[in-house]
Amino acid sequence: MTDLSSNTGGIRSPNPFWLASAPPANSGAQVQRAFDAGWGGAVWKTLGTPIQNVSSRFGAHHVTGARHVGFNNIELITDRPLEVNFREIEDTKKKYPKHAVIVSLMVESRDEWRDIIKRSVDTGADGLELNFGCPHGMCERGMGSAVGQEPKVNQEITSWAVEYSTIPVLVKLTPNVANIVPHGLAAKRGGAHGVSLINTIKSIIGVDIDRFVPEPRVGGLSTNGGYCGQAVKPIALHMVASLAREKEFGLPISGIGGVANWRDAVEFILLGSSSVQVCTEVMLRGYRIVEDMIEGLEDYMRSHGFATLDQMVGKAIPQFSEWGNLDLNYETVAKIDAQKCIGCNKCMIACDDGAHQCIHHDPAGSKVPVVDEAECVGCNLCKIVCPVEGCITMAEVPNGWAPATWNDHVNQGLALRPKKGAH
């Protein structure tokens, strides 16, 4: 039996799939529909002093045929009365006692934090998430990422929240920093039970090149927004993994950033997330995507022998290392499967212009390019551009050299194999 139940810093949910604090978790009716669709938890749209939003609010990054690969927004926190939000949170929690309901919060003064935390806890919610991440609008008012970018402020406000709260406190971190680790450690020092990351990335999604106005356009002006969607996943994975492998850290992580399907979720979990949060993919396609996420994760766990989520959380972290620990004597070369090759020569032009000029026309005249393996550095570029699944593979070369990393070489003088393609 595969058990998908999740525990993030004491916040339990039937599965690790949570709605992120965002428009899909704006109201009780929405969150309850999401739970009916299968979501395990929801982080309520951030509560604070209700704001007034602009129109328009969203922008999208379309990439030659693939729509909305990236997404951004200039929407702020809740614009609904606090009492309505609290009433709906309480109602939701009563109707769905086993699901995780987390209240996202963003206010300024210590008194405001005390008041809003008490009201949040009184709803019966399972946890709090402190929004120290929002990179647009709210940060101009001294909140959101303005807090998340200052470890001292982060730590202080976190300590207030932990003092006032009787339920677990997660700190949502901003990616708009040079190194995420000090910010995660600040939250830990403040007493947080876990962290959520990443919030959105400061961005301009595009420019209306006829009106000379960035997008999304509000009348004749625009502003920077928060970038998210599938395109940000690599950045999010790195930040999650950076905290997960940090020995001094050790807090549970709720992973966020470009999770669109079960496979993305597996990656976040393997890099240390106990739960994952989703917003953009739900905004684009609806709550129904969770069905595939649950099935896919369950299937993956079963096929890989994981009985519980705990067994797979962070499973890839030991293999996430420093460059200096990579084996310089490990060698691969590209192999082209002549039976599969369609003769597009994309590998050839990529190698010629973008790599090491080691893929050439077949001297015998066939459509299948040939790899000069003596020159091939094993960079993967040809495999990446090849449109045919399984046509180009990177084969390991048993070159007889004992493993040697840069650190080994510098510290112990271990010998490195001769460089390829460096002439």
Partner: protein, 438 residues
């Protein structure tokens, strides 16, 4: 009937699939093209209401197992329907891409990819419910009864299927055009459905002869009639009993289960304009008959056979005589049929005086419909209309405890209609059994 139910050396094996299977790459590319519409027209066009966007998205995320689960949860005959459904008239015909004047998503081929993968991998998704101690007799072993029995097993009711042929599966084994699905694949599906356990299939039992319907109604807590249609209808014209004149359904069954010979047949005529006629035309062309003509009483726009099927028949080299009816058959020197005597009709389908013609043919297949089997159910006193068994929307007949679905109820539609009606009837039967005292 051949000694083995499905002869490995049967005639249909010369056919290749008209719509081939997808490779993984092809399936991924096509699935990724799907817009994942919400509450979309493709689902509304499917009688079994498969959640098409969901199963396609799951192919795109490489959750093929989940994809197959989504399909089978709505339609346990999803594997055969992927092959035999007229998707051009159903899901794919309703795809929103048509409105964009772009190629619709190849829903049938994607469904085939997911369901074939499930069959190959041996995935099973459904278990029988706890035994209720109730039993249901299902008459006819075709798609309607199989879909009904599978759903009844999920509710925990015991099922016995009575099939007069030596092999279960109904038209999915004996009647589907061979370039859509061959008999052995239909038999694979029967085995897969029966894999849920607890469904006894009694082949070679003709209800009404070997056992009466009244006996079944007494011995079981409920009866489902999935009896389909009867033999090919006859034209009732002189010479129809000549060797070389036969029903199209019977011919298709013979070529699917055994070896038929078209040696000496250079010209063939298929009488009719429905989908069976078009199937017969394409089958004869595929078997190598040089000159195949469809003789239809109306014009091309009026034929009930699907336009896309007829278009494919034309590509395969078939011809048509529009507005013509067969008035008789002439024998050649060998005593076999040699020609079809025909009368031209006008636009109102009235004979045009003096406009008669002859089509030479060494083989004639008559495809003008099939007999209704209302006489079989007469002993139960069920209401019928035009030979169809009258039921409510859930398949309940005029007699409590007796339900019906498939061609016997709808007069002859698609496999997917039979699957939908069988499943829906099972839900009604379950409610009936749980509501009725023992």
């Amino acid at each position: 009937m051949a000694t083995t139910p499905i002869d490995p050396d049967r005639s249909e094996t010369v056919f290749e699939d008209y719509k081939g299977s997808y490779s993984r790459d092809q399936a991924l590319a096509e699935a990724s093209r799907c817009l994942y519409c919400f509450d979309p027209p493709c689902v509304k066009a499917c009688p079994t209401e498969i959640d098409i966007p969901q199963f396609i998205r799951k192919i795109a995320t490489e959750n093929v197992r989940g994809s197959a689960r989504t399909i089978f949860a709505s339609n346990i005959l999803g594997m055969s329907c992927a092959r035999v459904c007229p998707v051009e008239k159903l899901c794919a015909g309703a795809c929103v891409f048509n409105d964009l004047h772009q190629a619709p998503i190849q829903i049938g081929k994607l469904q085939r990819y997911a369901t074939d993968t499930a069959y190959d991998a041996g995935w099973r998704f459904f278990d029988a419910g706890p035994d209720t101690g109730r039993s249901v007799a299902l008459v006819g072993g075709g798609p309607a009864s199989l879909a009904c029995a599978h759903e009844l097993r999920r509710h925990g009711h015991r099922c016995t299927v009575f099939e007069q042929r030596a092999v279960a599966g109904g038209l999915n084994v004996t009647g589907v055009a061979p370039y859509k699905m061959k008999a052995d694949r239909g038999a694979d599906e029967v085995a897969w459905v029966l894999g849920i356990g607890g469904i006894e299939v009694r082949t070679g039992v003709t209800v009404g002869v070997d056992v009466t319907l009244a006996e079944l109604a007494t011995d079981h807590d409920a009866v489902f009639l999935g009896i389909g249609l009867g033999a090919d209808s006859a034209l009732g014209v002189p010479g129809e009993s000549l060797p070389g004149v036969q029903g199209a359904v019977a011919f298709l069954e013979a070529m699917k289960l055994s070896k038929v010979s078209v040696a000496g047949v250079r010209r063939a005529v298929v009488v009719g304009g429905g989908n069976t006629a078009v199937d017969a035309v394409r089958a004869l062309r595929g078997l190598g008959v040089a000159d195949v003509t469809m003789l239809y009483r109306g014009d091309e726009a009026a034929m009930s056979g699907y336009a896309h099927e007829w278009a494919a028949a034309k590509v395969a080299g078939a011809r048509a005589e529009w507005r013509g009816v067969a008035t008789g058959f002439d024998a050649g020197a060998d005593g076999r049929v040699a020609a079809v005597r025909c009368q031209r009709l006008d636009a109102q389908r009235k004979p045009v005086d003096g406009d008669v013609f002859t089509l030479a043919a060494e083989l004639v297949l008559v495809a003008i419909g099939q007999a209704k089997l209302d006489a079989l159910v007469a002993p139960l006193g069920l209401d019928t209309k035009g030979g169809r068994i009258v039921t409510d929307a859930d398949g309940a007949t005029s007699r409590p405890g007796v339900f019906a679905g498939g061609d016997a109820r709808n007069g002859g539609k698609e496999v997917v209609n039979a699957a939908a009606e069988g499943k829906r009837a099972a839900t009604a039967i379950d409610a009936f059994l749980r509501g009725s005292a023992r």
